[in-house]
């Protein structure tokens, strides 16, 4: 069953546009990866001083996700993760959650 990898980002109010632009302008190589199904950037509810965003990637299996985390594509895509824009925009580090699909109805 497919696997969903999410990262939850607390984006300080005022940094929403910069955060979205960073994702929009990034060069994604996810389509090169075996088992990649789809990527979404999701804009969620407001919190205390921040807006919750979640990155949301569907993989065909957990094994495919793990393959990506060991790839050169993964290392390249995380080069900017600690830069100053990201540090200013975020309240704390992103929170990773990995999910197995138990039921699927379409």
């Amino acid at each position: 069953m497919s696997f969903i990898a999410m990262n939850r980002f607390k984006v300080r109010h005022g940094f929403e546009d910069a955060f979205e632009t960073m994702w929009r302008d990034r060069e994604s190589r996810l389509n090169d990866m075996p088992g990649f199904v789809e990527f979404r950037l999701l804009k969620g509810p407001d919190g205390d001083g921040f807006r919750l965003y979640t990155s949301h990637v569907v993989w065909a299996s957990r094994t495919d996700f793990e393959g990506w985390t060991k790839s050169q594509q993964f290392r390249d895509s995380h080069k900017g993760a600690g830069n100053s824009t990201t540090r200013d925009a975020l309240m704390g580090p992103p929170q990773f959650e990995g999910y197995e699909t138990v039921l699927h109805q379409t």
Copy 2:
């Protein structure tokens, strides 16, 4: 852009199978609803005394999601929400998060 409605459930250790069975055996009428795209029950990370599960429904738009929340199908599907099995299984009420899709890559 599509809308994702998630509910986060903290399921006490030992209640995982009962919780999954309850979802598996329910009668879903989501397929009758305009704008319904897909439903998933997701099994997430372990926490302190619980396993995190998330129900995950993709709708064509926020308007379609809101239409469902006002429907008879919605009322029927939430009739069992406060029963004793659910109360025993969960640490606190489910936490709703609604998400707009900002970017989508397939």
